[in-house]
Symmetry: C2
Subunit: 355 residues, 2 copies
């Protein structure tokens, strides 16, 4: 049997669960490698993937007999079948953070489940710790991202628009081995950089601009995430202080992000230093990266967790002055026992474009 | 007050609801024009949009005083505030088809809601009927899609890969007034066309190929959706029969898709004719198009609804022969009292590329 499904079955047993309905498509991709619309039923005896006619051919071409997964077309699954999948099961798990309230009610009704039990991100928590192959895929995504940044430094010229630069990023990714963007690129120039989640506009790059570029790609399903803040022709003095403060904190975090570090404390360390200087960290310090661009753990104020070896997270402090400008510097990093390694490796000193 | 929020308040009153929590970001965009992460509270007295520091500046720049919407940063909302938003409210609505089971429990707890009531797609149902501006936006998205198809007929050549064509589609959209793709383009050539949801591969276009291209763009947030199946050098005879059958049914539907038509019956009409010929319709006949690429109504076997004037839906019959090939032809159409008008207008006769 597929090793990850085997892990899930063992975990369910230790939680006294007789089965589980897996609905989150990213978790299904993680478990059985399939990207389609459907749900995975882990029953006492079998693993059943229920999808529809649009996907059955593609799914069957991916799964092998060793996976031990039965693929069913939803058209061939009767209500009698549904009632029998979890027959004699006392406790069946579900993904309460993915399943809507309406689906929850429908599952209860359809599968005649006695006791439908919340599984508290069981699969997402397992996904936090990356195996060798996952780390290789993320590393490759980061390499392509570095190459893209190098390319951008010759591509970006005065007169180009933010949108054109964003389009070029996607084109580069697709033509250099990636599946595409891992999220909509942020290219925020001048005053637009003051918004952490700015959407690229038709604004043209001009002399004296600061440009925040937040981008990443997907390689074999796995994401990268990097931000660099660069300059056109010169760096204005009032921006230097902010840039230096962000960079100092981002660099400092490489010593702090390591096995055993408390995620909330990491956020607070940066936020305290920002506050001493009259600023504050208005978004999280970072987040896990994997099959999802944003996944657990979150390095923020609202959650608390201890980092572990082989987690992959972002390190992305930023300062934003409303109506003026913003600076964010971000790497995707691999956590180890004594610190962390940056998987994105592009230069973080002042980069000044003159063209 | 914003006219759509006014509509919602009136609707809630008629359903005996004292308020509502709107969580679906597409519904929030529809109601107040804002694209961010947050929730919209419709309380007895006020409309409150709660977001976080990353978005407050952008949101405040979009909303005007006439919208009558209070924007709050989640950091400034205390648990005391939450308990007071719905004070003395008996029934408060929520989106049971969007809110997860975990969020449902959290809302109940956080807002101390007495009776949390399912609202059965109240906003999605309203979104089905498009107003003048929405139709203009979809029409523009369809025009750009037609232009893109015209461009593709000169761009596609033997030796180009499916991925390259998909990248070119996105580039064309972004450089011709659209925000980008409305969904990941499908470019499925040769045997790949047998999978309705094929993902573009590195397969090179070759002589004798059939190519299914399913694509669309987004204009001012609104989507288009079109599929054409084209040929390289010549059309193989065994494909012609299938193509003609699909096209006959697709054309026939233009008379049937109209105010009062039953969506399930439309599906069945096409499926019956396919079955007479030894095939079947393995996916829905179509779906609503608007701010979402897939929205209500669904023209399929599993739901039943009567079409109304100013709905915008797709008309997309397809036949797929596993391991061999597939044909799908799709337009985005505007429903009126006596029939429907195609908003995508590209040629549907055999198109044969010779290059």
């Amino acid at each position: 049997m597929n090793v990850r499904v085997r892990w899930l079955r063992d975990s369910l047993r230790s939680l006294n669960l007789d089965g589980m309905i897996v609905s989150n498509p990213v978790n299904i991709k993680y478990l059985i490698g399939v990207e389609a619309e459907g749900i995975l039923l882990i029953t006492r005896k079998e693993n059943i993937y229920i999808t529809d006619g649009r996907y059955t051919e593609a799914v069957n071409s991916i799964l092998t007999i060793d996976d031990e997964i039965i693929v069913s077309d939803i058209k061939d699954v009767s209500s009698y079948d549904c009632e029998n999948f979890f027959l004699f099961c006392e406790n069946v798990g579900f993904e309460e953070n993915y399943v809507t309230y309406a689906q929850y009610k429908q599952y209860m009704h359809q599968y005649k489940i006695n006791n439908f039990v919340e599984t508290e991100y069981i699969i997402e928590k397992h996904r936090m710790i990356k195996d060798k192959e996952e780390i290789e895929n993320i590393t490759e995504a980061c390499k392509i991202t570095d190459k893209c940044f190098e390319h951008l430094l010759t591509y970006i010229k005065k007169g180009k628009t933010e949108k054109e630069i964003a389009t070029e990023i996607e084109r580069f990714f697709k033509e250099n081995g990636a599946e595409g963007n891992s999220f909509d690129s942020i290219v925020a120039s001048g005053i637009n950089s003051s918004m952490p989640h700015a959407v690229p506009t038709d604004r043209k790059i001009q002399s004296g601009d600061i440009i925040t570029i937040d981008f990443g790609c997907r390689y074999k399903g796995y994401c990268s995430d990097m931000t660099r803040t660069i300059f056109v022709d010169f760096v204005q003095d009032y921006i230097k202080d902010v840039y230096d403060l962000v960079l100092k904190n981002q660099r400092n975090m490489f010593k702090e992000i390591k096995e055993g570090a408390n995620t909330k404390n990491l956020f607070r360390m940066v936020n305290s230093d920002f506050k001493v200087n009259g600023f504050s960290l208005i978004h999280g310090l970072g987040h896990g990266v994997g099959l999802d661009i944003h996944e657990s753990p979150s390095l923020g104020e609202r959650s608390e967790m201890l980092l572990k070896e082989n987690m992959v997270v972002t390190n992305e402090p930023g300062i934003y002055i409303p109506g003026k400008f913003g600076v964010r510097i971000e790497d995707t990093v691999l956590v180890d026992k004594y610190g962390c390694t940056s998987l994105t490796k592009s230069d973080k000193n002042y980069i000044i474009i003159k063209a």
